[in-house]
Structures are given as structure tokens and as C-alpha cells.
Amino acid sequence: MDETEARQHIVDSLKAKTNKSKFYLKDFYTFLPDMKKMEVGKLVNKMVAEGTLEYWSSGSTTMIGLKGAGKQHATEEGE
């Protein structure tokens, strides 16, 4: 799978999950089982930098989701 396909697969996988909007990095490993975990991590960080994904942090843990998805985003944007 090349990078473009991997990106699309990440976006499709996230869109298919309707019950939650933020995911651990490990969840992304399961979306792309054939890719090296380190590479998945780098790709996810790249997609955040480009604005497709975004981080959510509690301060101790970081989660990742599609930019704009979820309640948290709506609340924070309005403030």
C-alpha cells in the first residue's frame, strides 16, 4: 500500500467508526496492519500537520481524530 492509499484508508477507517471520534495511536496500527508501526506513527503526525487529523490531549495521554470530529471540537471552537 502506498502513502496515498494509506492516508485514504486511515480517513475511511475513522469515518466508519461512528461510536467515537478520538483514537489512540495503537488503533491506527490496526487500520494498517501491513505497515511498520513507526511509519504509521510518522504518517499520522504528518496528517495532523497537514490538517486532516488533530490531536486531543488530556495532558498525560494523546489521542487522535479527524479534524473537526466530535463534541470536544464544537465546544472548544465556540469558546
Binding site: Y24, M38, W56, S57, G59, T61, T62
Partner: protein, 437 residues
């Protein structure tokens, strides 16, 4: 007149100790009088509202902070922790109250004017309240609003040559003791190692890629002034291989009372004459010392390098010359499973610039933990779950006596089949030749 009455918090000022409530009231007053004429970019009454919110929490026994958020600065996945209040109408000054973490200088050396510059920036773009320093070691700025974050980041990086620290599932801001800058016990240059590895692992510091937080700390000697053994997933502690250097004349001077023990510390009361047997020889954890006929001897093979004798008689005893570091892994605070101290992984490793041997160990451990660690699982928990031997295996280190918790009383090691000559199978006929049924 305070904006919000705080009778419960006021009680906290009545004790004999310094009170954070008094400090906050003083800071709130400074924001109102603003003697430096600072162009305050967040609400002037942020601290008044913070006091009011805390009083409310004391009254109803619950928190009014919403946990976490998506805020940050562009390109970074750490360094900013979103905080929002669930009573924004009543306490508008703390509707947004984000924390910013800044990388502290190695060994916490500041110039006063640099500290003042940082504080001026924070007085302008934040609440002015700081936490110097947080548990991880970094400079913590408490309370700002979302629009200020990029402004703060720009000014920090462009005007003050200052980076953000780590938060979230990142490498946290590495921390070290003062090391060789002031301490004769430092077995390696902790500040150089801290700075080098901070630069080397910028990507891990700023962009989350771990199952959970990961902390480095660097102690120059086993005195452990940054307590790396208790506070970091990866502790590097200076040590030496050869003999402790003994100046016998100085030992005699300690015994004769000419030099104050402990470098004159604990001198506030009369402890009586210095007794080398009781205060040094008898307290050696491995009993590897003797003082007979005016001569001090140390059996290096049995020495733990606990530093006690050196601390008591620093003019007579010096660390050895063959210096390096030990690497221990897996310390953590008690969120799950209770607190854990680090376990020894590498008994001795060279600790010289560019620290390639140490980087190799770090990266082996990371590769394994990123692979095997569960979500929100610290390295110490992964170690407990999968076994310390697995960590040895991924680092290519052979098990040895130093890896066993109590080698003198329980020298038990689980060997794997391929590590034992002949494996688990045996020729029963050959066995019976030596062992009758």
C-alpha cells in the same frame, strides 16, 4: 475588595506555612495595580476568578475543570494542555485556562534577566502564575486563552530561543542534575547528555508516537539529585568501575576531628566526636569497608557505589577514574499497580559524547515498547507484564548477577531452551549411567 468571597480558602492562610492562597491574592493584586504597565492580553481578573472557582470546588466538593482538549501550537503535539472551566459565565476569567510547558535549561541554570523576560511575556499573555518547576522538571505556565498560544510560541522561539516542553504521549522534557558544572561527584557530563538527547529526539518530544508518556532523567552519580531512579522510565546514573580513591592522611584528619564530616552539613547541633566505625564502616550496605591500624580499606568487588562513605568524607574519598553510567528502566508513579523504581538494565556503559551506545539502548527499548506496550501503559508496566528478560533480549544484553534483585540470596534465573547447552531434551540412557532409578 476581593471579586469573590473565599472564606474557606482564607483559612488556608492561617497556618504557619507559606500559603499558595496568599501568593495568588498577591498576584491578583499585582494584575490590578499593574505597576509595570503590562499590556495584559487575557482577563485582568483571571486570578480572582481562579480563587472563586477553587472556593466553589471546596464548597461543593467537586472539580469544575473540563479535562484536556485539542489546543496546541502548529506542528506540535505537546507542550500545551487544554483546560476549560465548566462555570464560564460565573468565572469568565478562567473560561480558558490552558497550561503551557517550557523546556527548562539543563541543570536549571538561569540568568536573572532571562527569567524576568520569560515572566514579562507570561504576565502579558497569561495569568502570570508559574510552577517552577513541575514534576517532570519543566517550567510550567498556568492559565492562558486559546488565541494567545501561537503568539506565545512565536515569541518564545523567535525572541527568547526557548522551546516548549513535552506533554501527552510524548517524550517528556529530559531533566538532569547540575553535573560537572558544580559537582565533583559527577561521573559524566549530565548537562551535555541531556542537551544532546533533547536535540536528538525532538520528533519524539513534540509529536506523540508512544503508548504513553516517557521520561528520561540523568543523574551524574548515585546520589541521584534528580531522583532518576524513582521518576523516569529511562534513568541514567553515573558510576565508576575501579576503586574509590582514598587519601589516607585525610581519613586520619576526619578521624582526628580536623575536618568536619559531611562537608560541615548537619552542623546545627553537637553530634559528638566523629566515629568512623559507627558513621561510615558500620553503615556500609555491603560491609565492604574496614578501618584498622589507621588505614581505610574498601573491597571494590563488593562495593555498591552507594556514595555514603564519599558523602561523609568527601575530602578523603573520591569517585574512581574509570567512569561511565548505569542504565535503569521502568520507574513510575502509582496510577496503576503502585509506584515502581527503575530496574537495572545496563550495569556499565560509556557516557561520552556523542552517546551512541546510550542511544542504541534507548532506541531498542522504544522499538519494543511501541510494539508491545498497551494504550496508557508505562514502560515499567510493560516490563512487569512481559518480564524483564524480554527487555534484556530486545537490547541484546545477557542476564548477569546485577540483573537479579537479590543475587546473594536468590540467584534464580529462568533460562530459555536455546540458552542451555543441549536444550531441554536429554538422552535418558546417558542420564541413567550417572543417576540410578
Amino acid at each position: 475588595m476581593a471579586k469573590h468571597p473565599t472564606p474557606l480558602l482564607d483559612q488556608l492562610e492561617s497556618g504557619p506555612w507559606p500559603s499558595f492562597v496568599s501568593d495568588m491574592k498577591h498576584a491578583a493584586e499585582l494584575r490590578h495595580t499593574n505597576p509595570k504597565g503590562i499590556n495584559q492580553q487575557i482577563p485582568e481578573d483571571v486570578i480572582d476568578d481562579l480563587l472563586g472557582l477553587l472556593e466553589m470546588s471546596f464548597e461543593d466538593g467537586t472539580t469544575h475543570w473540563k479535562h484536556g482538549g485539542i489546543v496546541g501550537v502548529f506542528g506540535y503535539g505537546g507542550g500545551v494542555i487544554g483546560r476549560y472551566c465548566d462555570q464560564p459565565e460565573r468565572f469568565p476569567g478562567v473560561a480558558h485556562f490552558h497550561t503551557v510547558r517550557l523546556a527548562q535549561p539543563s541543570g536549571l541554570f538561569y540568568k536573572a534577566d532571562y527569567l524576568e523576560e520569560l515572566c514579562d511575556l507570561w504576565d502579558m499573555r497569561g495569568s502570570g502564575m508559574t510552577n517552577m518547576h513541575g514534576s517532570t522538571g519543566d517550567i510550567i505556565w498556568l492559565g492562558t486563552t486559546t488565541p494567545q498560544l501561537e503568539e506565545i510560541f512565536f515569541e518564545l522561539t523567535h525572541k527568547h530561543n526557548q522551546d516548549l516542553g513535552g506533554s501527552g504521549s510524548n517524550l517528556r522534557t529530559p531533566a538532569c542534575c547540575m553535573g560537572m558544572s558544580r559537582c565533583e561527584f559527577a561521573c559524566y557530563d549530565t548537562q551535555l547528555m541531556c542537551h544532546t538527547l533533547t536535540n536528538e529526539y525532538q520528533d519524539m518530544l513534540h509529536r506523540p508516537q508512544f503508548p504513553y508518556k516517557f521520561k528520561f532523567k540523568f543523574d551524574g552519580c548515585p546520589n541521584g539529585c534528580v531522583a532518576s531512579i524513582a521518576r523516569s522510565d529511562f534513568s541514567v546514573i553515573g558510576t565508576w568501575k575501579d576503586d574509590i580513591k582514598i587519601d589516607q592522611a585525610a581519613v586520619k584528619a576526619y578521624v582526628g576531628g580536623e575536618i568536619a564530616p559531611n562537608a560541615g552539613a548537619h552542623a546545627g547541633r553537637d553530634w559528638g566526636k566523629f566515629d568512623i566505625q559507627k558513621e561510615v564502616i558500620g553503615l556500609c550496605p555491603t560491609q565492604c569497608m574496614s578501618y584498622e591500624g589507621g588505614k581505610l580499606e574498601i573491597d571494590t568487588k563488593n562495593c555498591y557505589r552507594c556514595m555514603h562513605c564519599i558523602n561523609v568524607m568527601p575530602k578523603a574519598l573520591r569517585i574512581g577514574d574509570e567512569r561511565g553510567a548505569s542504565i535503569l528502566i521502568g520507574a513510575k508513579a502509582p496510577i496503576l499497580d503502585g509506584a515502581q523504581m527503575s530496574s537495572l538494565l545496563v550495569p556499565f556503559i560509556p557516557a561520552d559524547d556523542p552517546f551512541d551506545e546510550i542511544k542504541e539502548v534507548i532506541e531498542s527499548i522504544w522499538d519494543w515498547w511501541m510494539d508491545e506496550g498497551k494504550n496508557r501503559e508505562r514502560l515499567g508496566e510493560t516490563l512487569k507484564r512481559l518480564g524483564f528478560q524480554k527487555a534484556l533480549e530486545v537490547c541484546g544484553i545477557k542476564a548477569q548477577a546485577q540483573h537479579v534483585k537479590e543475587p546473594r540470596t536468590n540467584p534464580y534465573i529462568f533460562w530459555k531452551e536455546d540458552e542451555v547447552p543441549g536444550g531441554w531434551t536429554r538422552d535418558i540412557n546417558e542420564y541413567r549411567k550417572l543417576h540410578q532409578r
